[in-house]
């Protein structure tokens, strides 16, 4: 035992090195002031006005989804409320640096659809008729100069053929597509209006119908495609430059509105150029996703959003199809090794239109596009928590708001904290004397670690300090001090049994450690469960509780215990000096007691 026990001095040195590393991390990444919450610092308020007077339930559902989006990752404790009959108010603490992204996250409808590309056209003005008739001419001019098609299906291939998974890409990007070239569009091709039985085979519109249609779009669709064009921002407009959805001809206008069972004309903005697409009905809906996450795939540099489709028959689109996973497999089988494209459409705009590099069996896929970390994360969150049931006014009211609590509250909280900690230290010094110094030092160390962690986490996870949070940290002082009390009382008990201090420290530690671990397991358990299951403020609380418990354990194991062991080497402590806190008098063992013969009961 003794041989394997690390020397207290070494543990202390390593521990302080750890703290130094922690603080250098703070110096490198975070600011020296913790981010304060809505109640102490104020933040940004975004008021979203819903269009077309939504029902109460829809508004509440939208509120819930937005709440999940802003509070889904991190613990910033943003607040989302409904206001009046058609408004949703989002308040986010701090002066948000990425205000535009935040706005996007909040108001994005996040209706994701996978559609098949029938025609595509890089230059809205010049070759607007490229798709007409469709026979013989290569209609798909992809002007994409850089790899937007990259990595499609990389995820899926990983499970199927790991060897091919590293294909990064750009390979397909310059290929002129010829999706519409084989067949002339004729009367037998499925029409795109709301008919449910296009093929006349007695079945509803299926994925296969969409595949066929994409090969040969009907004349009406092509006409609408030609009638509409894209402006610089990627909006669909008619010949007069008015939004496509307001075009007089209702048949054309229908193509500019993103509905699942209607073909769509849409645009993609990529690096300054605009590409116009004619897209089939939606073959996979965003509601069919089971998960979405932002990441950088291996061997690549750009952020993508990975998605995972479920195979839920009930959610399947079109209705009656076996489910997204199977649909996607079918599509990928049809599209693989061809130059035919499919498009990922978000809220009516094409995010990217890649080719299929491999057959995807498990419904896993990636969305690439012009993402950085923030936008990818924002999109992934939006997709994960579902599409909003209502649409919002284009320009929400965004304003800075002040703190909701008076300024003196923070001051009072901090004063109270200082007084409280001071009194705790004083009490420990009076009661434990020499050992009290260890308590004081331990509290300082714990405080400095907690502060550094709060700084780091406000940078990494958006952790903000609210007044209740500060109160929680102050309360945690008592619990932290309790771990020292348990330890010291154990040492005293051991010494009352007649052991010397140096022995008592070790044997007392062995027993205090078990108690401490058991008790802290309860705390960590509660913190974990609350963090996982709750949201908003409660999540933040779980976070702070878990943090302070772990810091407490770290300080006890790596600072307090080695410190006491170290001090036990010195005569001042182990000789039972009056000021050591472990003298006979303070233990209460100084009076020669009349020992009951025959042992204690």
């Amino acid at each position: 035992m003794a041989a394997r026990r690390p020397s207290p001095g070494r543990t202390l040195v390593i521990f302080f090195l750890g703290i130094a590393v922690l603080y250098s991390l703070v110096a490198l990444t975070a600011s020296w002031k913790p981010a304060l919450g809505l109640d102490l610092q104020g933040g940004t308020r975004i008021s979203l006005k819903a269009l077309n007077s939504p029902s109460k339930d829809n508004l509440e559902e939208a509120r819930k989804i937005i709440d999940q989006r802003v509070n889904g990752t991190g613990v910033s404790e943003a607040s989302v409320t409904t206001s009046g009959s058609d408004e949703i108010v989002v308040e986010v603490p701090g002066d948000t640096k990425n205000r535009n992204e935040l706005e996007d996250t909040v108001k994005r409808t996040a209706q994701l659809r996978f559609r098949l590309v029938a025609c595509a056209d890089a230059d809205p003005g010049a070759s607007a008729t490229a798709c007409a008739g469709g026979s013989g001419t290569p209609t798909l001019q992809r002007a994409a100069p850089f790899g937007a098609d990259k990595g499609k299906g990389g995820k899926g291939k990983k499970t199927q053929s790991p060897t091919a998974s590293a294909t990064p890409t750009g390979t397909a990007s310059a290929t002129p597509g010829d999706s519409g070239s084989d067949q002339p569009s004729d009367s037998t091709s499925p029409s795109t209006d709301a008919t449910t039985d296009p093929a006349g085979d007695g079945k509803e519109w299926t994925t296969q119908d969409s595949l066929d249609w994409a090969q040969a779009p009907d004349a009406e669709a092509v006409a609408a495609y030609n009638a509409l064009s894209c402006d610089k921002e990627g909006n669909v407009v008619d010949a007069k430059g008015k939004p496509g959805a307001t075009t007089k001809d209702p048949k054309v206008a229908a193509y500019a509105v993103d509905t699942p069972d209607h073909a769509l004309v849409s645009c993609e903005v990529r690096g300054g150029s605009v590409i116009k697409y004619l897209l089939s009905r939606s073959v996979i809906e965003g509601t069919e996703l089971t998960d979405a996450a932002a990441q950088i795939p291996q061997n690549q540099v750009d952020w993508v959003v990975t998605i995972d489709m479920g195979n839920d028959k009930d959610k399947a689109n079109p209705p009656g199809s076996p489910g997204a996973e199977d649909d996607f497999e079918k599509i990928s089988e049809a599209l693989v090794n061809t130059n035919r494209l499919f498009a990922i459409v978000l809220d009516g705009k094409v995010l990217s239109a890649p080719t299929m590099n491999a057959v995807i069996h498990d419904g896993r896929s990636e969305i690439s596009g012009d993402f950085n970390e923030t936008t990818a994360t924002s999109l992934a969150n939006s997709l994960k928590y579902g599409a909003l049931p209502i649409a919002f006014d284009k320009d929400p009211k965004v304003e800075e708001i002040g703190p909701s609590l008076a300024g003196n509250q923070l001051q009072a909280g901090l004063t109270a904290g200082a007084i409280g900690v001071l009194l705790v230290m004083l009490y420990c010094l009076l009661y434990y004397r020499g050992l009290g110094l260890v308590v004081v030092a331990s509290l300082f160390v714990a405080a400095s670690i907690t502060y550094a962690m709060v700084l780091l986490l406000s940078e990494a996870a958006g952790f903000t300090l609210t007044l209740p949070g500060i109160a929680g940290l102050i309360i945690a002082v008592g619990i932290t001090a309790d771990s020292f009390i348990i330890f010291f009382e154990r040492i005293r008990d051991e010494m009352r049994e007649g052991r010397s201090m140096r022995v008592a420290v070790e044997s007392g530690w062995a027993r205090a450690r078990v108690t401490r671990m058991a008790a802290n397991t309860v705390s960590v358990l509660s913190a974990l469960v609350l963090y996982i299951f709750a949201s908003g403020v409660v999540k933040g609380f779980g976070f702070a509780l878990g943090l302070s418990t772990l810091v407490d354990l770290a300080v006890l194991f790596w600072f307090t215990k080695p410190m006491v062991s170290y001090l036990a080497q010195f005569k001042a402590f182990n000789s039972g000096h009056k000021l050591s806190g472990l003298s006979k008098e303070t233990l209460g063992t100084d009076t020669p007691r009349t020992r009951v013969v025959g042992g204690e009961a």
Partner: protein
């Protein structure tokens, strides 16, 4: 300090002992009374949920460019707070941009709404009534947030019960810890109910903190109980005595913990009372103070009692208690007479030393009976006790030294070892 330390030592050695496990009726009565009072408060007065839970009313005050300063917001907050409007006693006033203030209060009746508007007008005479717009806000803590939190707490409790069960190898400790927890939470909720404090999200997190603290403190005390009760046989203690000793031994720790834990909260209470007057911070601190106090109290006074009560229903524990009691009586009566009789497993005959003869109990450990004992005589049943008088192993003869009948003693080498 010396006195406290001496007390600590005495408590540790068991020379001073406070009965923390007995007088169950009294203390259960007290507990039930407290919890009943809390539940009654909940039923009679209900909880005063804040804007975050119920939704409320928002006043938007266009105070004109540049006037939306923090000072004005604070002034308005104080003015509305001082106006004694029932549902607007703790308004949340924030600046919005640089030319508007928003005031958020609980749901108001039309009259109250008018009162608030009057206060705003007094505060900002320049603001035309048209510049004050009101709208209803929905709760930000809707049902499903509360639901998710409740699910989280539920799962946490299940996990904790399993953890305590696994750690102490004793489901009864889980039950006792849960009872103590319910007691603490009931008291805290009761404080909110009777005082009419606004229940804010901060209050909820405070309650969760108490949840954790209560269990944590109980686990610390139980750990000592477990340690003390594992070697009952050897120490000749009953479960109840051992548990009581454990609570006494941790008493100093419990006192210190409560002092150290309550000092910071006390400081918050004091400072917020002096500096701020009524505020949500003060409410939170007061509830925490009571809750934490209850946590320490219940882990000393309630949880050990419950566990001892539950354990005392076990036959094994009952037997051990009887054994220990007999041993104690025997020692008290005649220390030395008891020694061989017990250790060697030799029963005294019916009219043995007073201590052993006592009708309350003493059952011989059959395992410990020496083999070379004399033919066991079939012993008669003591009337009314339903217990078998231990078999007589040795002949008994009048002894000159003690003046009464004594068993014939074996030679020292044949006696059982102590």
């Amino acid at each position: 300090m010396g006195k406290m330390s001496r007390l600590g030592n005495d408590l540790y050695q068991g020379r001073k002992s406070i009965d923390f496990t007995g007088r169950r009726l009294l203390w259960y009565g007290v507990t039930i009374l407290i919890v009943a009072a809390a539940v009654a408060g909940l039923a009679v007065r209900g909880l005063n949920f804040g804007v975050e839970f119920t939704g409320g009313t928002t006043f938007s005050v266009a105070v004109g460019a540049g006037n939306a300063s923090q000072d004005n917001a604070d002034a308005l907050r104080d003015a509305i707070g001082a106006a004694n409007i029932e549902n607007a006693d703790q308004p949340v006033v924030t600046t919005a941009g640089d030319q508007a203030l928003t005031v958020q209060v609980q749901n108001l009746s039309p009259e109250e709404r008018q009162q608030v508007e009057d206060v705003i007008e007094q505060q900002f005479p320049d603001v035309a009534p048209n510049d004050v717009s009101t709208s209803d806000v929905g709760p930000s803590w809707g049902k499903e947030v509360a639901q998710r939190a409740a699910i989280g707490v539920g799962i946490f409790l299940i996990l904790v019960v399993i953890f305590i069960w696994a750690y102490f190898r004793e489901w009864k400790m889980s039950v006792a810890a849960l009872i103590a927890l319910i007691h603490d939470v009931a008291i805290t909720v009761g404080v909110y109910a009777w005082s009419g404090f606004e229940v804010t999200p901060a209050a909820v997190t405070g309650l969760l903190a108490i949840l954790g603290f209560s269990l944590y403190d109980t686990v610390v005390v139980f750990d000592k109980i477990k340690e003390n009760t594992t070697k009952l046989r050897r120490r000749n203690q009953s479960y109840g005595d051992a548990a009581n000793l454990a609570v006494n031994q941790t008493l100093v720790r419990s006192i210190n913990t409560s002092i150290v834990a309550l000092i910071p909260i006390g400081a918050i209470l004091y400072v917020s009372a002096v500096q701020l007057g009524a505020s949500s911070l003060q409410d939170l601190a007061l509830a925490q103070f009571v809750g934490m106090g209850a946590g320490v109290y219940s882990s000393v006074m309630l949880a050990p009692r419950v566990i001892v009560n539950l354990k005392s229903l076990e036959t094994e524990v009952q037997e051990q208690a009887r054994r220990a009691k007999a041993r104690q009586r025997a020692e008290a009566a005649d220390r030395y007479a008891a020694v061989p009789a017990v250790t060697a497993g030799r029963p005294a005959r019916e009219t043995g030393p007073e201590g052993l003869e006592d009708d309350d109990s003493f059952r011989i450990d059959v395992e410990e009976t020496d083999d070379e004992s004399v033919q066991p005589a079939q012993s008669p049943t003591v009337a009314g006790r339903g217990r078998t008088v231990p078999t007589q192993h040795r002949p008994v003869a009048p002894s000159s030294s003690s003046g009464r009948n004594q068993p014939v003693r074996d030679p020292r080498s044949k006696r059982g070892k102590k």
